[in-house]
């Protein structure tokens, strides 16, 4: 078969897919590991292999979820573009002539056909966002819902960046133009950015809105940090925040 010397995992330190091992023929690794003094016994070898492979799996999970937050960010941007296109077509659909050589029922104009297709696209993207936020940011999703979670991650440029932002920045994400205008001495400081879409903020009285936005952005920051650094839902934290938000509303 192959002439190259095989390299076991315990020599390559888990880099089993490195070019060194290409063409390798499997060997009786447990016996070889014992003979070479790498393991005391065959059972000991298997125990080491088991824990080694499981820790490699953890690394792979981490890499996948890092890739998923980028996918989420791109999906959110694409959805925003599709939504803008839906609005655009919807405003002008009566202007568009019936499709040329297309078998649409006479009642449908080209604009309507395009609009339906775009709405389907938007719906598919929303479903993808729903799925991705469940995996990437379960805590954020529990507090902000899938769409706002995606908006926040998109505005921040990824989950890691969101997790590292101070909560005051999270509060005004998406309101950069107002913030910079304020910093240049024009206008008041913005109370909220994209978190305005959260019902707790939107339904708060005008006087309370800033305080609610400040509280909410604090919780969202913590949620993003749990999602980034731990990755699993913290039920206790989610329940606490839910309670705080209900108190605010009454």
């Amino acid at each position: 078969m192959h002439g190259e010397a095989p390299v076991p995992w315990y020599v390559t330190d888990g880099q089993g897919d490195s070019t060194e091992t290409r063409g390798a023929i499997p060997q009786r690794w447990p016996a070889l590991a014992v003979a070479a003094g790498v393991s005391d016994s065959v059972d000991g070898y298997y125990d080491t292999l088991h824990s080694h492979l499981r820790s490699r799996l953890r690394t792979e999970i981490r890499e996948v979820s890092e890739a998923e937050d980028v996918e989420l960010l791109r999906t959110e941007r694409l959805l925003q573009a599709v939504e803008a296109a839906v609005d655009d077509v919807s405003d002008r659909r009566s202007d568009l002539a019936p499709p040329d050589g297309m078998d649409a029922p006479p009642a449908f104009t080209a604009g309507e056909v395009v609009e339906v297709a775009l709405r389907d696209q938007a719906e598919a993207l929303r479903e993808l966002i729903d799925h991705l936020t469940r995996r990437v940011a379960p805590n954020l999703r529990a507090i902000a819902g899938p769409r706002l979670s995606a908006r926040l991650i998109e505005e921040a440029g990824g989950l890691q960046r969101l997790a590292r932002k101070p909560s005051g920045t999270v509060q005004v994400l998406g309101a950069e133009s107002a913030l910079f205008a304020h910093l240049q001495g024009r206008g008041t400081s913005p109370k909220h950015g994209v978190i305005y879409t959260h019902p707790a903020v939107r339904h708060a009285s005008h006087a309370d809105r800033g305080a609610v936005a400040r509280m909410l952005s604090g919780k969202l920051s913590i949620a993003a940090r749990i999602d980034y650094y731990r990755g699993s839902p913290d039920e206790e934290f989610i329940a606490d925040v839910g309670k705080r938000l209900r108190e605010v509303r009454t």
Binding site: T21, L53, R54
Partner: protein, 211 residues
Amino acid sequence: MSDLPEGVQWRQFGGRQRLATRGDPVYGEPVDAEGWRVWDTNRSKVGALLETHGDPGFEPDSGVLYLGAATGTTVSHLADMGLLVYAVELSAYAADALLEVSRSRPRLFPIIADARHPARYAGTVEADLSWLIQDVASAEQAQIATANRRFLADDGMSMIFIKARSIDATASPSTVFADVEAELTDTYEITARVSMDTTHEDHRAIIAKVR
């Protein structure tokens, strides 16, 4: 009822006899008072095969290379039976589930790798294994089985689940099965063919020994 391998039993669940192994539950399956958990044969082709045809010749402590482990349902039951299982799965999205099922199973070895490139895990998976079990959704199912022959002992066996639709969704399943078998015959001698249609449509199991 046919013979079962060691570590698998018929147990009573909700008034009916079901296949079960003993170990930590992993996919919400029922568990009885003595710790036996149902092997859901609708979710596991190996389970379905054992249920209908009995023991294919699994010896306790034998080594198995399982290609296409997915979220680990089948490999968890094989590990419960006392088999040593190298579980290879292509999709890193399955890693969460494999991490979970391997936690309480010290002889279940999860590997995220592409079964089309066995050289990449030849430094991890040992030689002279007794079984190759393959359940992959790839158009190259015959080539994969051939390339992974290197892990089997000279008296090793393979159990190959062929998914006709993954190979050619337009050809008739019987043509696809015949083509796959023709490709396998250089490396393996086919000893049994089993239709899986009752639980898995357009699937066939092939049992073969190393040539």
